[in-house]
Amino acid sequence: MKSTLLAAFAATTLSAAPVAVSPSLIESPQTGGLELKSLSSISFGPNGLLLVAEPGTASVVAIQTGDVGPEKKVLEKPVADIGSVIAGGLGAKKEDITIKDLAANPASGRVYLAVQRRPDNAVLIVTVDAAGKVAPFDTAKLPWARITLPGGTASKVTNITDVAFDGKRVFATGTCNEEFASRIFTIPVPLKHGSTANVFSAETYHVAHRKWETKAPIQSFIPYTDGDETYVVGAFACTPVAKFKVDDLQSGAQVKGVSMVELGSGNRPLDLFSYTDKSGKDWLVVHTQRFKQNAFGPSKMWGARISMDYLDAADTNEKAARRDEKAPKGPDGIEIVDSLFGAVQADKIDNTQAIVLKDNEGTLSLEVAALP
């Protein structure tokens, strides 16, 4: 078979030619030489801007991928046993890789997966195109910038749980190893290599039995704008969905979240995204792992959509809407999304579909899931 690796790479990687940088997103970028030391979360901004959380250096890395379409092509058919394909490409056994996160590039439809290999913890981002072809993401000629979070590696933040762009600034959330607390970071745009971020201490209180108030760490979030006000809407380890108002905050401030919805005990929220359905109604999708015995549905991995109306609800904290984890439905405006059963990772492609990594008894497949 005469198909050289070089030819294969030219067809599948994204760095064949230097990429023009949108000056509005990265200022004075570095070109080439990017080595990612670690990976936790990845997400896309506009125009193919990839944001990578690099917890080992307490940094967010922004990469101008140049993957901007113009045509948007969505995965045509599921990629079966994608874990084996990726593991083979890394020279590892299937059980020795972890897919840390997944992100769909809204500009091209291409899917990016953040992968870590054991035992050496080497990391790689791989891409999956519409035909299901898996290829390493080659950053050799791409413009990039690394923004280190305040305190750097001496910071108490040892995991960056999520990263996102709201059109005006980049947000990241971190968990501390020394304190039972979360931090929210904001990085102004244009992103500037070597710059740092503003930091807020984020406390979300979980009120139990209307008597005990206690803290919970942030797991996943989306930026959310309501009129002129900007919020971070986060999902927390003990399942509240809470919002933090982040306008007008000075760096170093403490911000207290307001719980809007409770998803029920024994669930660990993994991913959040929002979308607008065909009728024009806005939804927040919370993709969740149930770590207790399964109470409903075919899998412990499940997702619910929550009406965005709840983000403006008058009843908050201990009065917040609460889902009964044993019930398949309700309350009003909180619905199970059937297509997310079995998903270990999920991200929105557009308002009608999401990309999901499904786990079927240890075998991973990449699939498109319809949004209701």
Binding site: L5, T57, G91, P119, T158, P217, G266
Partner: protein, 341 residues
């Protein structure tokens, strides 16, 4: 070294080819100038080629750059064919040099069995950076009869930047009073019950060397701690002026010593601090100044966010009883006087 057919400047001939590997490259070496048409590298029994690029490397030798470094000690199969060769692919098996890697060891911090029953965080300190991404299959909490406490840990991996310290978070939903899981399933730890924290001997360092034997750490939880740390209850042993003898602070409760040492300082006095667990349930912090002590008033400052094992800090307890009086912050400055000899 193997012999393959190749088109050289002297025409088609048999040439000797060797394989040289480094972490981030593989070279095909030959006394002749050769052009590789394909080079594919597989894990020894792998069906799929490694991600990477074929490039001309050092002195125009054909080479392969893997997308992630080769792993020391692992066997690889290299398949290649030279330009204009009529032969089928040549195959050769190579082992990337195994590094003599130190065997990792593990310790529990704080080094004690007597932790409060509502402890939120424990720390595993390894002598080497360890593999990540699968810690829940490597650590179990067992009752002394060997039965596992299921769902004991929060599924969030928090590693120090050097990959040697793992923060082990006991499941907050179960450890916090009246939170949903605490009500449904009860706390992870019960005072007076004996447990073992068991670290699998299969856990590998990043060099691929396993711990080799299980790490077993006995835990005998004592009563839950819902109180804010109170520095005014700590005991001070103050040195004399003119000496560099250590200032010794002994706490009345347990903290993680490394975190304690970072959170406590003598204002305006550089020096070295060390902390360790004493009497199973206290921390002794010894501070040796760079310069001899000056007579007079000194201050110890404490980060108000310093948490004890149960997450109570100087500002407020981990759990606030909303029906009781609001908690008051504890003082985070301790004053001491150094007297003349």
């Amino acid at each position: 070294m193997l012999t393959v057919g190749a088109l050289t400047s002297a025409g088609f001939k048999e040439v000797k080819v060797g394989v040289q590997m480094a972490e981030k490259s593989l070279l095909l070496l030959s006394p002749e100038k050769i052009d590789a048409e394909t080079i594919q590298v597989f894990a020894k029994d792998g069906q799929q080629p490694l991600f990477g690029e074929v490039q001309k490397l050092l002195d125009a030798h054909p080479g392969f750059i893997p997308a992630v470094p080769f792993v020391r000690g692992q066997k690889y199969r290299v398949e290649f064919r030279f330009a204009n060769s009529s032969r089928s692919k040549a195959k050769v098996e190579v082992t990337f040099d195994a590094q003599r890697a130190a065997m990792p060891t593990v310790r529990l911090s704080p080094a004690t069995s007597q932790i409060p029953a509502n402890t939120l965080k424990l720390y595993l300190d390894f002598s080497e950076p360890m593999e990540q991404g699968d810690f829940l299959s490597r650590v179990t909490l067992q009752r002394s009869n060997g039965l596992e406490v299921t769902g004991a840990f929060r599924e969030t991996e928090l590693w120090s930047p050097d990959g040697r310290r793992l923060t082990l978070m006991l499941h907050p939903g179960r450890q916090k009073t009246s939170v949903n899981l605490n009500v449904d399933e009860g706390p992870v730890l019960i005072a007076g019950v004996r447990y073992n924290l068991v670290v699998s001997g299969q856990w590998r360092s990043t060099n691929g060397t396993p711990l080799g034997k299980e790490g077993v750490f006995a835990l005998e939880p004592i009563a839950a701690d819902h109180e804010q740390p109170d520095p005014e209850k700590w005991r001070l042993q103050v040195p004399r002026a003119g000496t560099r003898n250590p200032l010794v602070v002994t706490t009345d409760e347990l903290f993680e010593p490394q975190i304690f040492a970072r959170a406590v300082q003598v204002a305006g006095n550089p020096g070295k601090a060390q902390a360790k667990v004493v009497d199973l349930k206290r921390v002794e912090w010894r501070f040796t100044p760079e310069d001899p002590w000056k007579a007079g008033r000194h201050e110890i400052t404490i980060d108000p966010e310093l948490e004890d094992l149960a997450g109570n800090n100087l500002l407020k307890p981990m759990e606030v009883d909303l029906t009781a009086e609001a908690p008051k912050a504890r003082p985070n400055v301790l004053i001491f006087h150094v007297s003349r000899p």
